[in-house]
Subunit: 361 residues, 2 copies
């Protein structure tokens, strides 16, 4: 099957670019003695998670228990769930999972840790635990201070849990390249305060886990960080490019779309709307995706099944024309598709099931 | 099972509200002699499509061939695909489908109609056809004029196709109630021009299909329209409410979510982010959803798996608290879920598979 024979819309993944992206990140992490624990929420495909392990990752990261279930069932053995798991149903599932794989969780609440700990003891399993601190993003994570360091000390002492260290989400580092230097300096000051307090209390932190894709290749500048959890780097997307962390030539995942209407002058409609691309905005900039073949065309709006192209003067498209769109946010895009295709130049070489798609719980 | 026992996040559908919404629309259509052909892209659940037929709908509308396949396989017999179907793969599927059910398509291109027509003749099946005109939304639809009316005449004459009439998408009428009057007046002037031209050419239009949810209950004011295709009315959502077409008490579908972190002062995080609610913005207004129990709380931001609540002074939430969120756009929200639950007050009475979810092709 060639690209031309694939029905649209379809997510296609250039396996050569994918391979290069994986290698680039592994090489970087090896050079800087960083453990790589890729976030598989980006692709949700066990086969790709295994490729990441094969290329040097120490384990994987997931956001949801359901994703961990799928990945463990596929043979992934070391899984960190960086999401606060709340409620009896989830704790029971977590412990069942911990019997099958090496599982750790990041959490930001001592009562939550206790709930998991006493159930782990009762069941005779051990769950790894990382205390999550907020270094400025303001989402999850305990605020850095005496009280949270006390809480971390008590979490470390809980039986049933395996203390692994600390977890951070430096999400505020998703700035442009120029802005990142000062942000990392401030992050380092924050981290230094935390390390001083942990040291004073004698709390070890064998793992200091941080990192995301836009700033991943600056992780060696983050003092103390020894593990990173980038996700998007495997594919890259319009956001990574707009954050000056990749070029369009590094974008492995595109949506192959067909022009389905040119009835309205100056416009064209493609068969990829918000149910194909997701309606995520670009973090910096306008539009809902980058048209690879025609950078001058703006994907200015999305209906559910319609992508609204605005054509610059002199550009015409014909019904049946095919375009490849780099999505703004590849993680939410992948989550909309049950299957995606691997291509090498114009040949379809793989078909992957997005097995952990829609695992909302 | 009760609502309290359901693991989160979960889409729950209040069956009493659903029932009321269905009845209200049927009664309206009956009173005004309008055919109701609900757009099932909103729910993508064959069982609900059948409920719509049982409550008086003449058939259903879908956006994708894959949705039509699922609906036909479940026994739905009269399906209109209001989307330009482009490419040999799709035409072959369309004709296979036309052997199993009464199928019609809306299209805005004569060459497209020809492609379908000659394949239909070769296969010995008939496909219903409606010519789509643009009355101002500027998405699909031929511009109203002599050339497009000529094209409609030629489409009507094609063998293999069953001429049904015309299709419109008055998407620009999704304004507030006060703004809708003048918009409908302008729409009527546009339609009158079209009807005059069609009459002059002797082109009949037994079906004049229009309508969407926000303006659905004003459809009797649209001269000539005799079929409407609302989708969202079955559930309603934050957009319908902000368009003053429903109240929150009319919103049948909500996302049941749990507070998972309160570490950051003034904020709380719920386990429903863009992969649960979709990142669709509100057409008018701010925020990513309406918190049913706490209208004063703003759902100000979404990460993929985190909903960022901004708490007004004096409001506190605790980890484990459960909230129900009315999504901005229920159609894109439903599309993210494999299963949803029907509830009656606090009791779970149904579990539905979203069988046509993710049918992107």
């Amino acid at each position: 099957v060639t690209l031309a024979e694939l029905d649209t819309p379809a997510v296609v993944i250039d396996v050569d670019i994918l391979d290069r992206n994986l290698r680039r990140m592994s090489d970087y992490c090896r050079a800087h003695h960083l453990n790589l624990r890729p976030h598989t929420k980006t692709h949700k495909i066990p086969e790709l998670a295994k490729l990441q392990i094969a290329s040097g990752a120490c384990g994987i990261t997931v956001a949801k228990l359901g994703e961990a279930d799928v990945m463990a069932a596929a043979g992934l053995e070391d899984i960190c769930i960086v999401y606060p798991l709340v409620g009896d149903a989830k704790w029971r599932r977590l412990l069942a999972l911990a019997e099958r794989a090496r599982i750790s969780v990041a959490l930001d609440s001592e009562p939550l840790a206790r709930q998991i700990a006493w159930r782990a003891i009762a069941r005779g399993v051990t769950v790894g635990v990382r205390a999550e601190f907020d270094t400025g993003f303001g989402r999850c994570g305990m605020p850095i201070g005496e009280r949270s360091v006390e809480a971390a000390a008590r979490i470390r002492d809980l039986p049933g849990l395996r203390w692994e260290g600390i977890s951070l989400y430096p999400g505020h580092i998703t700035a442009t390249r120029a802005e990142r230097g000062p942000l990392i300096e401030r992050e380092n000051e924050t981290l230094a305060r935390l390390f001083t307090m942990l040291d004073a209390r004698g709390i070890p932190y064998p793992v200091v886990s941080g990192g995301n894709t836009p700033a991943a290749f600056l992780s060696h500048l983050c003092t103390g960080v020894n593990e990173i959890r980038p996700g998007t780097y495997i594919f890259n997307d319009n956001n990574t490019v707009s954050a000056e962390s990749a070029e369009y030539a590094d974008c492995a995942a595109t949506v192959l779309a067909t022009v389905v209407s040119t009835s309205v002058a100056g416009h064209a409609i493609i068969d990829a709307g918000s149910k194909t691309l997701s309606s995520d905005r670009l973090r910096r900039g306008e539009g809902y995706g980058h048209v690879l073949e025609h950078p001058g065309i703006t994907l200015g709006g999305l209906s559910e099944e319609h992508g609204h192209l605005e054509l610059p003067p002199g550009t015409t498209l014909t019904v049946g024309d095919r375009l490849r769109i780099v999505p703004n946010h590849v993680c939410t895009c992948m989550n909309l598709h049950d299957r995606v295709w691997g291509v090498q130049r114009d040949t379809v070489v793989e078909e992957w099931r997005v097995a952990a798609r829609g695992q909302v719980r």
